[in-house]
C-alpha cells in the first residue's frame, strides 16, 4: 500500500450528530437573541467570558477532562463536533480556546494531582482563562532559540525574559511559559527547556499590548522580570519542556479552527451569490468542496487521536491545507467584490476582518513553511 499521510476516515454516527444539532440549536438561539454577532476568526478575536461560562454550564467545555477534575469525561470526537459548531457560527470562543485546546490536555498529561485539582475544574466551568507563552521577539519559527531564563532559587524558579504574540494575556489569568532552565548547548538546542505555570497577576509580570494592523488588541508582550514560580508550578519535568510542548502539536494543528476561521465569510458569499449581489462563479463550489473534504480529514485526525494513534504529520497536512484554504476563501471573495461597503455591509465587514486577520492564519501555530518540512519528514525525505 502507498504512503498514507492521513488516517482513514470514519463515519459520524447519529449520537454524535445529535450532539451537533443540540449545539447548533443553542447557537441559533443565541444569534437570534443578539447574544453575539457571527464573525470570522473568533477563536482569536472574540472574547466573551459570559458566553464561555454558559458553555461550561451546558457541559461543552472540559469535554475531555475526566469528571473527577470537573470535566465531562467525554471523547475528542464529541469535543470535535462541538468545536466545529462553535466555529462555523462564528461564536465568541477566544476566552476558553487555549485552555480547552492545549492547557487542559497538557495538565492531564504532565500536571501533578494538585495542579489538576487546582486548574481543571475552573477550566471546565470556563472560569479560569489561560494563555500560552512560547514565542519571543527573536525566536520566530525557531522555538528552541527562546531566551527567557529560569533561574533556580530557593523553593522555585525566577523567570526573566519577554514573551510575545501572547493572545489574550491582558484578559487571562495565567499562562504556560517555556523557558530555558539550563544554558543553551548549541549541540543540543532542545535540551534545557522547561514549562512553568505563570500567574499573570504575579509581581514582576508586565503586560503590554501589541496592536494589530487593523488597530485591534489581541496580542501582548509579556515581560517577566524575575517572576517567582514556586516548585509546585513547574509543569512536568525540568528539562523536558521541548518534548512536552511538541507532544501536543497534533491537537493544536489539526483542529477545526485551522479550517473554519473564515466560514462565515464563505457563507455570506454563498448567500450573496444566491441573491445576485456577487456573480455566480464555480470558485464557490471549489472552496466549499475543499472545506468539506477538510472537515472529513480533520475528523479523521480526531478519530486517530482518540485511538491514541500518531497523527503529527496528518495534523500538519490539515493545518497547511486548512489555513491556506481559509486565506484562499478570503482572497476569492475579495477578488469577486468591488470596493464599497454598501454592496453588502455584512459581507464587507466579514471580508475586511478576514483580510486583516489572514496573515496570521498561515503563521500561527507553526508557519506553513515549517509545516511542509514536517510533512516532508513524515514522508521520509529528511
Amino acid at each position: 500500500m502507498s504512503t498514507r499521510l492521513v488516517p482513514p476516515g470514519a463515519r459520524e454516527l447519529p449520537v454524535l450528530t445529535e450532539l451537533r444539532l443540540e449545539v447548533r440549536a443553542f447557537l441559533a438561539e443565541q444569534v437570534a437573541a443578539g447574544a453575539f454577532v457571527p464573525h470570522v476568526d473568533t477563536w482569536l478575536t472574540r472574547w466573551d467570558r459570559d458566553f464561555t461560562r454558559e458553555l461550561g454550564r451546558r457541559g461543552w467545555l472540559g469535554m475531555v477532562i475526566p469528571t473527577e477534575y470537573g470535566g465531562q469525561g467525554r471523547t475528542y470526537l464529541e469535543r470535535f463536533v462541538v468545536t466545529e459548531e462553535l466555529l462555523v457560527v462564528g461564536a465568541p470562543v477566544a476566552a476558553h480556546w487555549i485552555a480547552e485546546r492545549q492547557i487542559g490536555p497538557s495538565l492531564l498529561r504532565y500536571g501533578t494531582e494538585e495542579q489538576k485539582q487546582a486548574f481543571l475544574p475552573g477550566i471546565s466551568r470556563g472560569e479560569v482563562v489561560f494563555g500560552i507563552g512560547m514565542s519571543e521577539p527573536d525566536s520566530g519559527s525557531d522555538l528552541a532559540s527562546v531566551r527567557t531564563r529560569a533561574d533556580r532559587v530557593d523553593g522555585g524558579w525566577r523567570l526573566t525574559g519577554t514573551k510575545v504574540w501572547t493572545s489574550g494575556a491582558h484578559e487571562a489569568d495565567a499562562f504556560f511559559a517555556l523557558a530555558r532552565s539550563a544554558p543553551l548547548d548549541p549541540a543540543h538546542r532542545h535540551d534545557g527547556l522547561s514549562q512553568f505555570i505563570v500567574d499573570l497577576r504575579a509581581p514582576g509580570v508586565t503586560i503590554r499590548p501589541i496592536i494589530s494592523m487593523g488597530g485591534d488588541h489581541h496580542f501582548n508582550e509579556v515581560h517577566l522580570d524575575g517572576v517567582l514560580i514556586p516548585d509546585d508550578r513547574v509543569l512536568g519535568e525540568i528539562g523536558q519542556g521541548w518534548a512536552q510542548v511538541t507532544s501536543e502539536l497534533a491537537y493544536e494543528r489539526s483542529g477545526p479552527e485551522r479550517v473554519l476561521s473564515t466560514f462565515q465569510l464563505l457563507a455570506a458569499a454563498a448567500q450573496a451569490m444566491d441573491d445576485g449581489r456577487l456573480p455566480t462563479d464555480p470558485g464557490l463550489g471549489r472552496h466549499v468542496a475543499r472545506l468539506a473534504a477538510l472537515h472529513h480529514m480533520s475528523f479523521a485526525v480526531a478519530n486517530a487521536l482518540e485511538h491514541h494513534e500518531d497523527a503529527d504529520t496528518a495534523a500538519a497536512v490539515v493545518k497547511v491545507l486548512g489555513t491556506t484554504g481559509e486565506g484562499d476563501i478570503t482572497d476569492y471573495v475579495d477578488t469577486l467584490t468591488a470596493s464599497g461597503w454598501a454592496l453588502d455591509e455584512e459581507l464587507d465587514t466579514l471580508l475586511h476582518a478576514a483580510i486583516l486577520q489572514r496573515p496570521g492564519f498561515t503563521l500561527r501555530g507553526g508557519t506553513n513553511e515549517i509545516l511542509r518540512g514536517v510533512i516532508a519528514r513524515g514522508l521520509g525525505m529528511r
Partner: protein, 371 residues
C-alpha cells in the same frame, strides 16, 4: 488520551469505513506481481486479457454483483479499494465499466449477465455515444438512455453496433459507438433513480481510480527524490523539492479523504442518501484539483526522465487527467457545487457541508444518518 468515557462508547460515535483487509492484501499481492512482470510502458494501451482472467478467477470482475446474480456481493467500499489499487498499477482492465457500472445496470434492469466483458455508455438521441472506453474489447455494451422521461437499459452485443476506434489521452481505447435505435428502444425501463445515479456512480468510480493512481505517483516521486542526486546530494534534501512533494502528498490525501467520505456514504445508504450529489461533487472537485497539482508537481520533480515513454510516471499521470474529466468536467462539478452552495445560502451552508443537503431530509432516509 481520554480514558474515562463516561458518556458514549466510541462504537456509538463513529463507524470505521475501511475495506476488507483480506481483500486488500490479495489485491496488493496481485498487482505487485502484475507490476513486477508487465512489459515496458507504451503510448498506446490495450486491454490485458491475462490480467482480466486472473481478476475473474478471484471474483474481482464481478465484485459488486449480488451473489444471486453471480457476483461476489462486495460493497462500494471494497469496490473503491479495488478500483484504486488497479489504477495504482495502471492496470488496463475495465473494472469500473464492466462491474461497477455495467453489472449494476444489468441487475437494475433485471437483465442476465453472462460474465462476458461489458462496457457502458449513454448514447445520445441519435444513438451515438462518444468516448466509450474499451468498447472494441467488449462482448456487449450496456447502454443507458433517456427516452421520453423514461430511462431504459439495453445490453447490446458489440457486433450489433458500429465502433469507430479512437483513443483517449491515456492511450486507451475510447471509441465512438453507434447503436441501432431499435436496440435502444427495446431496452428495459428502469427506475428513475437509476438514470440519475449512473452519472454519480461513474464520477465516484473515476474519483476512486484517480486517487489510487495519485497515491502511486506519490510513491514514485518519493523513490525518485531519495535516489536522484544533484549538486552532490539527493534532491529530496532541497527545500523546494520537499515543498513540492509535500504539496503533492497533501493534495492526494485531501482527495482521498473526500473520496472515502463519498464512498462511505454511498455504502451506508446504498446510494439512497439525498446527499450523494454533494458528496460525489466534493470528491470529484477535490480529486480534480488535486490532479492538477499532482500531475504538474510530479513531472516537475521527476524532470525529463519522467517524460520518457519507458518511465512509469506517465502510465499514471495520463490516466489521471483522462479520468478526472470523465463523467463531467471539473468545471461542471464546481458549478454544480456552486449551485448547491448558493441555494443553501448563508444559513444552511454548513448543513450542506455536513449532510450533503441544505434542507432537513423529508424522505424515508434516517435524518441523522451519514452526517
Amino acid at each position: 488520551m481520554t480514558d474515562h468515557h463516561e458518556g458514549h462508547g466510541l462504537d456509538d460515535l463513529v463507524e470505521p469505513t475501511s475495506p476488507d483487509p483480506d481483500l486488500v492484501e490479495v489485491l496488493t499481492d496481485l498487482f505487485a506481481d502484475y507490476r513486477a512482470t508487465r512489459a515496458t510502458p507504451t503510448a498506446v494501451v490495450d486491454l490485458d486479457r491475462d490480467l482480466w482472467q486472473r481478476l475473474e478467477d478471484l471474483g474481482m470482475t464481478r465484485l459488486t454483483g449480488t451473489e444471486s446474480a453471480g457476483g461476489s456481493g462486495g460493497g462500494w467500499v471494497d469496490a473503491a479499494a479495488l478500483l484504486g489499487l488497479a489504477a495504482a498499477a495502471a492496470a488496463p482492465v475495465p473494472l469500473a465499466e464492466h462491474d461497477v457500472l455495467g453489472g449494476w445496470l444489468l441487475e437494475a434492469a433485471g437483465l442476465p449477465n453472462d460474465g462476458g466483458l461489458r462496457t457502458v455508455c449513454r448514447p445520445d438521441p441519435s444513438g451515438v455515444a462518444l468516448n466509450v472506453t474499451w468498447a472494441r474489447d467488449a462482448s456487449s455494451i450496456v447502454a443507458l438512455w433517456e427516452d421520453r422521461d423514461q430511462w431504459r437499459v439495453a445490453d447490446v452485443p458489440v457486433d450489433r453496433v458500429a465502433v469507430d476506434e479512437r483513443r483517449n489521452l491515456a492511450g486507451e481505447p475510447s471509441d465512438t459507438v453507434e447503436f441501432d435505435l431499435d436496440d435502444l428502444e427495446s431496452g428495459i425501463v428502469v427506475a428513475h433513480e437509476i438514470g440519475e445515479q449512473f452519472h454519480l456512480r461513474g464520477a465516484l468510480a473515476r474519483s476512486a481510480q484517480v486517487v489510487g493512481a495519485m497515491e502511486r505517483v506519490v510513491d514514485v516521486v518519493l523513490t525518485h527524490v531519495r535516489e536522484r542526486e544533484q549538486f552532490g546530494r539527493p534532491i529530496g534534501r532541497f527545500q523546494a523539492v520537499q515543498h513540492l512533494v509535500s504539496d503533492i502528498a497533501s493534495e492526494t490525501a485531501l482527495a482521498r479523504a473526500a473520496t472515502d467520505a463519498a464512498v462511505a456514504r454511498a455504502a451506508a445508504s446504498d446510494w439512497r442518501d439525498p446527499g450523494m450529489l454533494f458528496a460525489v461533487g466534493v470528491a470529484k472537485s477535490c480529486v480534480g484539483h488535486a490532479a492538477s497539482v499532482v500531475v504538474r508537481g510530479s513531472h516537475q520533480v521527476l524532470g525529463a526522465i519522467g517524460t520518457t515513454l519507458e518511465h512509469e510516471l506517465h502510465t499514471l499521470t495520463r490516466p489521471i487527467l483522462a479520468r478526472r474529466s470523465e463523467y463531467g468536467s471539473l468545471q461542471d462539478w464546481d458549478e454544480t457545487l456552486t449551485a448547491l452552495a448558493s441555494s443553501a445560502g448563508h444559513d444552511r451552508l454548513w448543513t450542506l457541508v455536513t449532510t450533503g443537503r441544505a434542507k432537513p431530509s423529508t424522505g424515508s432516509f434516517p435524518p441523522h444518518d451519514n452526517t
